[in-house]
Amino acid sequence: MAFGAFAGGPAADPGIGAAQRKSRVVLLLLLPGVIYLALTYVAPLISLVLTSLQSPSPTFDIGSYVYAFNIGNYATAISEYAPVLGRSFLFALTATVLTLVIGYPLAYFIGVTLRRFPLLQSLALVLVIAPFFISFLLRTLAWKQIFSDEGPVVSFLQALAILPHDAHVTGTPFMVIFGLTYNFLPFTVLPMYTSLERLDLRYLEAAGDLYASRWSSFWRVTFPLSLPGVVSGTLLTFIPATGDYINASPSFLGGLDTAMVGNVIEQNFLVLQNYPVAAAMSIVLMVAILIPVAVYVSLTKTEELL
């Protein structure tokens, strides 16, 4: 859009030559970005689509495929992995709702309540980002330790007879959702914080003046005005969480029956060397994410974000 605004400059402008020169400069400045995107995004995407249509090589060598138009890969991907796809969405959605429920009050606290104390506000923001300073893998493994069968949490809950003696926490859907929620929380909090930090409190005064109770002011004014942050925050969690394969992997927090799409794609690519199905699965995942996201964004009327 910015491009259009420059290129379609005022025609009646006496300095039309200058306008044209300006648009040429703009094109030139855009070039590196366009080349970068073409090489790193468009080309791999085309390659992915082509791979997803390949057939096994006639020599039947494992991991060897030829270019074809084999729609069957998609049928295989969908029929075989539909439950995994469903589970991925369920886990990601649950984690997204949890990050929202935990993250919104946190973002509100930092963005609105702490506004009078800029130092505390900065400190709280640093704390939100602090986990990023330690490797994501390490942190996820640490949770595995904490929730391991002999670990403090399970032992404690068993001692209280809340959990039976043969119970596991790691490897369960609970643990995977816990891991997703934990790992993606900052991605939800930061955009919501940005929206809430900009919230003009005079709107809340006006709402109170117009007979809205605190509860009503929140739902009718604060929340709608922070919606752009809520939408981008939840998308930043939901999209990567759906394709995540670390949390659900048996090496980390998951088990054999918690596999998500990411795990299946990883397995097909790296273990089974079934590149076409892995590629087909990736495309199915992409489309499956894009549709609900588009509906979500249009329902919340925050299209201008995209």
Partner: protein, 393 residues
Amino acid sequence: MSAFDDAGADLELRQITKTFPGFTAIEQLDLTIPAGSFFALLGPSGCGKTTTLRLVAGLEEPTTGRVLIGGRDVTATKPHERPVNTVFQSYALFPHMTVQGNVEFGLRRRGVKDAGARALEALKLVQLDHLAARRPSQLSGGQQQRVALARAIVNRPALLLLDEPLGALDLKLRREMQLELKAIQAEVGLTFLHVTHDQEEAMTMADTVAVMNRGRIEQMGSPQELYELPRTLFVANFLGQSNLLTGDVVATSGANTVVEVGGVRLSIPTARMQRTSGAVTVGVRPEKLLLLTEEPKAKRGVNLLGPARVTDVSFTGVSTQYQVEFPENSALPGMSVFAQNLVFGAVVNPGAEVWLSWSVDHGFGLADAAEPGSSFAAAEADDTSVAVAAGES
């Protein structure tokens, strides 16, 4: 709460004090605003007028004192429980709602049945019903101001608070809105409390003006009363311009008090003086002065000063403003004279020798003595920024 008085309600502030960390915004304020009146609270920024308004709206709590609306003590109630609506300085129109949605907001919160129809009616009153479906961001400043007004009056509050609502508008639009606002007040008959730092706006619109300074009300009365008979130095200077002279009371003759200023005797009606002994400051408005090019004969009932020299002449359209000095009498300060432009061109030019005269009836005496070189417009804390900061507490 649902049945608001259509005629408005009295507002009573009793012994209100409001202190913020580090300073006192309002000191021992007592104020009664009768139902149905258009009341203006006038003062420079930092004088406590916005804080007063916020106390009435319930957006601030008084440190001590009580707020009564229609005889009911509302001091402890929340903003949404008070029969009060505010037109905010920033308008604070909800950006995510349409104009209609904004105007309906208060009605819907109170569960009023025909909110839509009433909102449209209020929009008609401010002549914006054709823009009901727009967003506030698509309107001009003047239109937004009118939406803010409609959003408040649609609720028929007992008391309507106006927080410098015309401050963001340009001069011409402000004039129009002043008249419109006054007409609307007459039409709906609500009690209006208007806060402003614009003395002309306060005088044009309000039937009663209270001049506020440093958290206190200096003087209260009709615009004419305040202008013609200011009681304090602050009012004399803040509301229009004044020529002020400091001297000693030397005699009382009949209804007049004689004050000697730099050897010249001036008569002031005793009834128009706040103090009638010792050193006093007396004044006269610049437009009451007559500029004479020849020394007139002394007359009863007329004060005379001169000879003086014209130092500056500025043409302002309806009037010409002359600055004069008294080179032969250093005890007399420079004075200004506003003369209506009844003829083309200035009557005298800079450098001319003139005499000033005015009817004794037009003089006034102040309660406080003028400090030499005192300035009432000293920079003070901006009360809006203080109010917003405090609003978050």
